[in-house]
């Protein structure tokens, strides 16, 4: 994605950067809505965790990254993957378990990765990406090319000790790491505030890390925070912490209702509030763009239709792909065929 110029100057580069962000948010939204539909109607293998409602975080952060920058993601990783430039066809094929998948069908929804684009991968272990990103930041520092390593993680993951370990290491070594907490208030079926002491951002402050807490449903605010953090990385000034407040609209995973068997952890009113146009990150960004005269309804409709067509194509690509290679696992794990 073209790094958007964030100073609003009505110039062409500025406008196109803004539209690129919207485009990516729409792609994520439509892709995930399709995954939800397919999971429900047809079924998909494994668990599917959607980030609908959180698109501004992924896109805001990744809008400031180059392909060379590193990024680790979470179990809720489709948005991060697409925002960092991952290919939607290859992602769908992966989720469909095909050999045309970005991980040849070996990883699935929870493990989408594309090293050629700096996407180290999603992770099924809550907190699993933190130390990996810190290691990538170490590599980036040694490379001396000004690369950054971004780590997305949730408010639930912030209770894993490895989070604090990584804040410590990143600071003492002055690593070009950006810790991005997507604070959606929920850890699985637990309201995070019931299991979280103090303000999360104070944890980063305790390690003398520059902190910025932003409205995670305002893509411009997120991009702004990212721009500063990335600049620090580029200049060799060390790590940053960004906390983006947001909300997940869908269940923890698409099979949630079945798992909960009638149990609840949030009210439907709460969910509805976050669905509203004044909170939804895409609706909000659209009205900004309309207000600023960067686009009109026609353009928006065209963009939406385009996103939908990309998703249609991705489904077709996934469906057409040949099944995963049944012997590949052995080859990749380095075992001979004889036990």
């Amino acid at each position: 994605m073209a790094t958007p110029n964030l100073t609003q100057d009505q110039s062409e580069p500025w406008a196109s950067g803004q539209l690129a962000m919207l485009e990516r948010m729409l792609l994520i939204r439509h892709a995930e809505a399709r995954l939800a539909k397919t999971a429900k109607e047809v079924g998909l293998p494994g668990g599917v965790h959607l980030s609908i409602g959180q698109e501004a975080t992924a896109v805001g952060i990744c809008s400031q990254l180059d392909q060379d920058d590193w990024m680790t993601s979470t179990h809720r990783g489709h948005g991060h993957f697409l925002a960092k430039g991952g290919d939607v066809n290859a992602m769908f094929a992966e989720i469909w378990g095909k050999s045309t998948g970005i991980c040849k069908g070996m990883g699935g929804s929870m493990h989408v990765a594309d090293f050629s684009k700096g996407i180290i991968g999603a992770n099924g272990i809550v907190g699993g990406g933190l130390a990996i990103a810190t290691g990538a930041a170490l590599a980036a520092q040694l490379d001396g090319q000004g690369r950054a390593a971004v780590c997305f993680f949730g408010d639930g993951a912030a209770n894993q000790g490895v989070f604090m370990e990584c804040l410590n290491v990143a600071n003492i070594w002055n690593l070009p790491a950006i810790f991005v907490c997507e604070n959606n208030g929920l850890s699985e079926f637990t309201v995070s505030s019931t299991v979280t002491a103090g303000e999360l951002s104070n944890r980063a402050r305790a390690f003398d890390m520059p902190v910025s807490v932003v409205d995670g449903n305002d893509v411009r605010a997120v991009a702004q925070a990212a721009q500063e953090a990335v600049a620090r990385c580029r200049r060799g000034e060390g790590p940053s912490y960004i906390e983006a407040t947001t909300y997940r609209i869908h269940g923890h995973l698409e099979a949630e209702d079945m798992i909960l068997g009638g149990g609840t952890y949030r009210t439907s009113e709460e969910v509805e509030r976050w669905r509203k146009d004044d909170r939804d990150p895409i609706a909000r960004f659209r009205s900004c763009l309309l207000r600023d005269g960067i686009c009109d309804e026609t353009l928006l409709e065209g963009m939406t239709a385009h996103a939908e067509s990309l998703v249609d194509a991705a489904v077709a690509f996934a469906e057409e792909g040949p099944p995963a290679d049944t012997r590949l696992a052995y080859a990749l794990m380095g075992v001979g065929e004889e036990a």
């Binding site: 992966e94 637990t190 149990g263 995963a324 075992v335 036990a339």
Partner: protein, 326 residues
Amino acid sequence: MTKIRYTQAVNEALHEEMERDPKTILFGEDVALAVFGDTRGLLDKFGPQRVRNTPICEATIAGMAVGAAAAGYRVIAHMLFSNFIYTGFDAIANQMAKLRLMTGGQIDLPITVLAVYGGGASQAAQHSDANHPVLMNLGGIDVLVPATPADAKGMLKTAIRSNRPSFFLEASGLGAVGGDVPDGEHLVPLGKAARPKEGSDVTLISVGSMIRATHSAAKKLAAIGVDAEIIDVRSLVPLDEKTIVASVMKTGRAVVIDEARDMCSAASQIAAVIADKGFAGLRAPVRRVTVNNSSMPYAPNAEAAIFPNADDIVRAAASICQREVA
């Protein structure tokens, strides 16, 4: 007898044992809403003091289990997927397994750790490990892999009452499987294998989740004239070497079936025991049907290709019974 599902059996055991002893407590991530259904209703019945949702911090969950048990409580800790055991592994391997030894026996550690293990459902590598071998190697920790609802209930109740730490591993593929469970108080001793089928030609030794594939293999073997005995090794630590060896002494042949990766698997342990103590009766090589040292790939077809199944068992058994498989 009542027919219930495996998960329901676990749930009943938890309810009964928490009722029985008010010093029994339970904590873990999302135990209130019960990710797997096994802890359902406990919070409502026993309240937020004894049943607690923890933050996501497996290292501390496992460590707290040790501390609370050492300080006098009977602890049940839920670790969700068995892959998450690794995140809390120091407290398990260095503390839970060793504290009684290191303190010269000053304390017992009545801890039961629950976790769901195994593949077969496209959960990919980080949610599919059958990692009982890693726990078996630690020493000092009982490792239980019941394969039926009745054993799930009876062994869990026994484990909770035991003063030794134990891991109670629920096979992810068995959670929805139904079976008869005796009514009323039902306890199954640890360290005893079951023998769900007698036979004379070969012993099929099944570890935990493999029981269904093993039963189906026994049927297929019968069709080619092989009369298989089945041993269900529901308890890995302690291991019922006697029953296993006695069966092999009778049949002269053994196939050990285990969903774990082969290297240092329960299957290898059992094969080693047979090669030592059962050698006198052995008439053929001891075969293992295991996962060939790979983690589970995501794609259903790729996972199925490397996951041990009935045909693998049939092939292994036939190869040592001088039978041809179609």
